[in-house]
């Protein structure tokens, strides 16, 4: 795949949040301020890029064969969790103003499934390590876009008069469904334009 099509595929047509439905724990309580939303999503972009880089090398050259490949899940989960913990510590240490508000309920573990999903998906394709890392970065950009969209829409929704039964999570999901409709439409139109 070309560089352009990897970015389009992983950031838009295969968006980690709206198409793959991963990483919903942070999406349900998105940061209120746009600045902290961008900051914490950038931390996730960083973790995604680093962990896809490591997992591409480890998964393609070290953990191969019938026995060793069964250690993949364990290695990747521990690696991703370690990266997330380390990033959270570093952010807390160097930018105390920007708290990682993505992981309010279970610190660091909450963005875990988005990062791990990216790692497994980039390993499923026949990528070179460089392409895989690019895929991880693009997927992180998709996550950043999703956090921005959800946090700004939630900010406006708080002012609206939503029916009581739909307040909170239900209206967030209906919003996400409508956004995802846009992403699904992008798939057909854009890909046929590029490759057709």
């Amino acid at each position: 795949m070309s560089v352009f099509s990897i970015i389009i595929t992983f950031a838009f047509t295969g968006n980690i949040v709206f198409i793959q439905c991963l990483g919903w724990c942070p999406m349900l309580h998105p940061p209120k301020k746009t600045g902290s939303a961008i900051g914490s999503a950038c931390a996730v972009v960083f973790v995604m890029t680093c962990s896809t880089l490591v997992s591409q090398v480890v998964g393609r050259y070290l953990l191969v064969g019938p026995v060793l490949s069964s250690f993949r899940i364990m290695c990747f989960v521990l690696m991703v969790t370690g990266f997330l913990f380390a990033t959270e510590r570093a952010v807390r240490r160097f930018w105390p103003a920007l708290r990682l508000s993505l992981g309010a309920s279970i610190p660091a573990v909450s963005a875990n499934c988005a990062v791990l999903g990216t790692v497994f998906m980039s390993l499923k394709n026949d990528f070179s390590p460089a392409e895989g890392t690019l895929a991880g970065f693009a997927s992180g950009l998709g996550f950043l876009l999703a956090v921005l969209l959800m946090s700004s829409i939630r900010e406006r929704l708080d002012l609206e008069n939503v029916p009581r039964a739909l307040r909170g999570a239900p209206i967030a999901f209906i919003t996400a469904g409508l956004i995802s409709l846009g992403f699904v439409a992008l798939d057909v139109a854009l890909l046929s334009h590029i490759f057709g």
């Binding site: 793959q20 991963l22 499934c113 039964a165 995802s180 992403f183 699904v184």
Partner: protein
């Protein structure tokens, strides 16, 4: 102990009320059978994790809880993945990355990290069965509506030809968008809203037999809402 079990099924349902374990609830509910199999995998993992954590809770130091739980759960997930690959390769490929992702399932990590560390094995098993049952019920309900509206069928077995009910009117011209991620979000959102309505009515009434009655009402209402929604 009975309360530990029944709590997870309705009043503290993990998907609709506590809002954890949502990623698989959104992603794999394209077909009824996928949802039930993943629900069973998660229930099994919850049960094993709850039992082992609860038995080992006095031997694991407090600061090593998260690593210990993660390592146990990844080992268990690897075993589940291999088992599914060996016995049901079709289902395994259809569930794809969502089987390895059981290793970071918020529901299992949450229950193993909090409830199992503070309760005896008996109560933990009851809690795991209730939470797993509630999770499977929720996934089954979501998948039922999504498959019914999105492809006009209900699949009970993965093998083709058997256990597949095709509805005459719907199967010819299904609303295919519901089978995609759009339908996942809309169905979960509307069912969650419906669940809130049912809970509010149930709270107001406070009748002893509220659960069975309202679930029956809920299904027909949900279908109507799901159809008019998109």
């Amino acid at each position: 102990m009975l309360q530990d079990f029944s709590r997870g099924l309705f009043t503290r349902n993990p998907v609709f009320v506590v809002l954890i374990g949502l990623c698989p609830a959104l992603a794999v509910t394209v077909q009824f059978v996928n949802a039930v199999v993943l629900g069973a995998c998660v229930t099994g993992a919850l049960l094993c994790m709850g039992l082992s954590v609860s038995l080992l809770r006095n031997f694991i130091p407090a600061n090593l809880r998260i690593p210990a739980v993660l390592i146990m759960l990844t080992a268990l997930t690897t075993a589940t993945d291999q088992l599914l690959k060996a016995t049901a390769p079709v289902l395994s490929s259809r569930l794809g990355i969502y089987v390895p992702l059981i290793a970071v399932n918020c529901l299992i990590l949450g229950r193993a990290g909090t409830f199992a560390f503070t309760h005896a094995p008996g109560r933990t098993v009851a809690d795991a069965l209730g939470m797993g049952g509630g999770f499977t019920l929720a996934l089954g309900l979501i998948a039922f509506f999504r498959e019914l509206i999105g492809s006009g069928t209900i699949t009970f077995f993965p093998a083709s030809g058997y256990g597949l009910i095709a509805l005459p009117g719907l199967a010819d011209s299904p609303a295919a968008v519901i089978a995609g991620p759009v339908g996942a979000f809309l169905t979960v959102g509307l069912l969650m809203g419906l669940f809130n309505v049912v809970r509010a009515v149930g709270n107001r009434r406070k009748a002893a037999r509220r659960t069975s009655d309202d679930e029956g009402e809920g299904k027909t209402e949900g279908e109507a809402e799901g159809r008019t929604g998109p």
